[in-house]
């Protein structure tokens, strides 16, 4: 099935064209979450969708060169660490856990910084986990060949 898809020139061209806009849309959703609907989750999923689309059309191995498995896995951890780390930092700055007020001299700015960082952590984790899920499902049963 995959051979058919990747041999179709229309699909490959369209997907190449689509790739960048999807990522940009994802980033928009990520950072515009404060003002409109959206945020880390949605952005993460959209970014992941771009990569999934890519590796669906060009095959798993091609997709792997784009985001190597191991790096993807480490990024999963980085997302969680970023989120939890914000909490630890706020403890360092003599606040409660996840107390963003102390991140900056102005509590309101502190909240902004905190929310952006945290959403970024969520986005990274969601995106990478989704890619990892796709990877595991797609490669299942074929790795031992």
């Amino acid at each position: 099935m995959r051979d058919k898809i990747s041999s179709s020139p229309v699909l490959s061209v369209v997907s190449k064209i689509l790739f960048a806009p999807i990522i940009i849309f994802g980033l928009y959703v990520q950072f515009h979450g404060d003002y409109g609907p959206g945020g880390g989750f949605q952005a993460g999923v959209i970014v992941a969708a771009a990569f999934i689309l890519y590796s669906m059309i060009f095959g798993l191995s091609k997709g792997e060169t784009l985001v190597p498995i191991m790096i993807n896995r480490y990024l999963m951890c980085v997302g969680v660490l970023l989120y939890a780390g914000v909490g630890i930092v706020s403890i360092f700055l003599d606040g409660m856990y996840l107390d963003y007020n102390v991140l900056s001299s102005d509590p309101s700015t502190g909240q902004h910084i905190g929310i952006i960082l945290v959403e970024l952590g969520v986005g990274i984790t969601v995106a990478t986990v989704m890619i990892a899920l796709y990877h595991s499902f797609a490669s299942f049963g074929e790795i031992n060949e």
Binding site: P37, S108, S139
Partner: protein, 187 residues
């Protein structure tokens, strides 16, 4: 009034979809119907003014999880038509639960009543502070990341756990060292 009509229409569509999911045996069709189901749900969410939720449901529910289900279904054999098991008890159970729910929901404050306790306690504070303190218009984001930031951390960890679990299940050495997919098939 429009709101209720649309809602009613969408929910009856949901019921129809559920019925067909129940009837269908072909796995791919089931998955496709599930995608439709979640899309309908996100439409309902929009109708209920829950745009963030709708967005997520569309992206996560009908996007990613449908992709995953398709991939799984592609690797699995076609579903077989089996005799229904536990049919009678489950009908009774289903009817009983529905009745209970209907009675209870009749007891809840009316849908959309602005004076329900749910809208009077706690939440007004959120709305006020978002305006005066955060200067961030999307209240959902505020609550998600700040007021209930710990929940969201937990949620991130849930996703992480699931990812880790799936990796451990599907690509780990523990489970794959003995047998191999293809070989099993040939036997």
């Amino acid at each position: 009034m429009n709101f209720l009509l649309i809602n009613f229409f969408l929910i009856s569509l949901l019921l129809v979809t559920t019925f067909f999911i129940f009837k269908t045996t072909s796995l791919i069709s089931v998955v496709a119907l599930t995608g439709a189901f979640t899309l309908l749900c996100s439409a309902i969410y929009v109708n209920l003014d829950a745009v963030d939720v709708a967005f997520t449901e569309a992206a996560v529910g009908s996007g990613i999880s449908t992709i995953l289900m398709v991939m799984a279904a592609a690797k699995l054999p076609e579903g077989k038509k089996n005799k229904l098991i536990n049919l009678f008890p489950s009908i009774i159970l289903a009817v009983a639960i529905s009745l209970i729910l209907i009675i209870i929901i009749a007891n809840l404050p009316l849908l959309g009543d602005p004076n329900a306790p749910i809208h009077l306690h706690v939440v007004p504070e959120y709305l006020k502070e978002s305006k005066d303190f955060f200067h961030i218009p999307n209240v959902v984001t505020n609550i998600l990341a700040s007021y209930r930031g710990f929940d969201t951390l937990g949620e991130t960890i849930v996703i992480f756990t699931a990812g880790l679990g799936v990796i451990a299940l599907l690509t780990s050495n523990t489970l794959n060292r003995k047998t191999n997919f293809k070989k099993n098939k040939k036997k």
